[in-house]
Symmetry: C2
Subunit: 336 residues, 2 copies
């Protein structure tokens, strides 16, 4: 296995509006050599997250933007093939921020540095339920959303990597869970497999009306992954003292200009509610505890990790786009 070159996808052109294949450029480089203290990792799986879209444009955020010509960023997992670092030996299964390429070299001091996978952990699970998206669900729901037993929890982007975990954890905490997703197939899956109590198909149903029907006492916790009209509808249906967890707004990530926000903000006053943003990296010190609890729930059969695994590095741009055209169900992963 492995190639004798390092195939790579680089940022060719910053996107304006929806990303297309023209934003990316394919190339090949020699496989790099690790320097002192460094290791060479062969990527076996790439992980795709909506937040990368924001890093493709030249705008300050919580992570610095990519530069033109950079290898496309992204989480990855694979095996150590060369090591000049005592912490890692050849054959170790690891995950890190390897980017859209076959091989990468990394040192000790990266912020999101390389970590070994625990024995027995499936690599796709390491990138999904035990990765950034699963941890985002865990801390966003539990720390920011503070669900209580009996609460009604509404989740947008419910069939995505984060949303599907949010709903399942909310169920574990004794909540009634309503998911908003696009298409009957996703909705069926959420009810049948992920134990959601009810779903709203935003492609065929009136979201405002259905939220009111399904949440007659209002929404206690809303977990927002989408923004736009869906957020507006959710804010209009809050219960008293509701918590809106602002995780993402994928509906606007490809907009050329920031679209207007929800016109229902004043409902926060009437219902004494709050909207709160968060970044999962702030919880890094608590990741081990969270992963342990998630693994326990998995082992008990109470929590399902759903991955959408595409194949082949040549399909990296198309796989990334699945996040924005609504094709992915669960965590979007590419197997190399």
């Amino acid at each position: 296995m492995g190639t004798d070159v390092n195939r790579q996808w680089r940022l060719k052109k910053r996107p304006q509006g929806m990303i297309t294949e023209s934003n990316f450029e394919y190339g090949e480089q020699p496989i790099p050599e690790p320097g002192d203290g460094e290791v060479l990792v062969q990527n076996l799986y790439l992980s795709f997250d909506p937040t990368l879209r924001g890093q493709m444009v030249d705008r300050a955020s919580y992570v610095a933007p990519m530069q033109l010509g950079d290898v496309m960023r992204g989480g990855s997992a694979g095996v150590v093939v060369k090591s000049n670092n005592a912490r890692f030996k050849v054959g170790d299964r690891v995950k890190g921020s390897g980017g859209w390429q076959d091989y990468f070299v990394t040192g000790n001091d990266d912020v999101l540095s390389l970590s070994k996978l625990a024995d027995g952990v499936d690599i796709p699970h390491a990138l999904s339920i035990f990765g950034i998206t699963g941890l985002t669900a865990y801390f966003g729901l539990l720390d920011i959303g503070q669900p209580k037993p009996g609460d009604t929890v509404l989740v947008s982007g419910a069939a995505g990597a984060t949303g599907s975990v949010v709903g399942q954890i909310a169920k574990l905490k004794g909540c009634r869970v309503i998911g908003i997703a696009g298409g009957q197939e996703k909705c069926d899956w959420l009810k049948r497999c992920a134990q959601f109590d009810a779903t709203i198909d935003y492609k065929s149903e009136n979201v405002h009306q259905r939220i009111r029907e399904l949440c007659p006492k209002g929404v206690n916790v809303h977990f927002e992954n989408v923004g736009g009209d869906i957020m507006e509808a959710a804010l209009g249906a809050l219960a008293m003292n509701a918590r809106v967890v602002l995780c993402g707004g994928i509906s606007s990530y490809n907009a050329e200009q920031a679209p207007p926000g929800p016109n229902s903000l004043m409902n926060l006053v009437i219902t004494r509610s709050r909207i709160e943003g968060f970044i999962v990296l702030d919880y890094m010190e608590q990741f081990p505890r969270a992963i342990k609890e998630l693994a326990q729930w998995m082992a008990e059969g109470k929590l399902l990790s759903q991955e959408d695994i595409q194949l082949g590095l040549e399909n990296a741009p198309q796989t990334f786009m699945r996040l924005f055209n609504g094709k992915n169900r669960g965590k979007q992963i590419l197997k190399l």
Copy 2:
């Protein structure tokens, strides 16, 4: 003093868009007689609050809407002229929800029932700094905004009844305070009299740009009374872990359709910040403690109560409109 009829303003037509005199109807009724346990109060001052605009339309909120033909609601203060209630005697100075009329009868069991004014308290102060608007500033800033010494606090509607008190309390708590208000005169007053560190005149300055200039390290607490473009600008300039106190959105109260919300909500994610709404009535049990502290600051010369006092019941509609055309400075009051 007093009239031999009860002059009243009633809700004639629900407003669509900006309120006009045509929404109100003047009439005269006999002075009512108090029944068992009731008192008759002569209003000497009326208090006007933006929130009344919302109660003029037929929409559920935290207070039931007015009905057509109802006497216009509003806080008031005056004297007891007849009493069938042992708690009140003729001549007692009281405040309550008397509405836009010369006289009203009230019993013991109203939610916002009649209360006696403490000796020595000026009636306009009782309706402003020690009334709902002053208490809104107190609890909104301190409980929801949680300002810390050294924080930069931004206040919109800064020259209003609530905003002007918010800024002064923030100064007392060791914060740097920037106020946004309409017109040079208001801005000058905020700096000269209310001790604001700086002001932004939204009528003549670029609010986005000026916030960035005046708050180079970002806004730690934003107290929002206005909404719309001003809120959008404030959300775009938040510091990390900022608190946005959502008190009101007067810019949209007269809109026929709810205008779009701020397009900068995703900045809450990047800055790990929150927007939180509140209703001051939830703090009712703590009002005595707050009034005591506000009075102490007043007595020490650290807090200024600003009232805008107009004259004559015949001018009630015009006086109410001053809240929406930006004419009032401080608490809008009408002396009968």
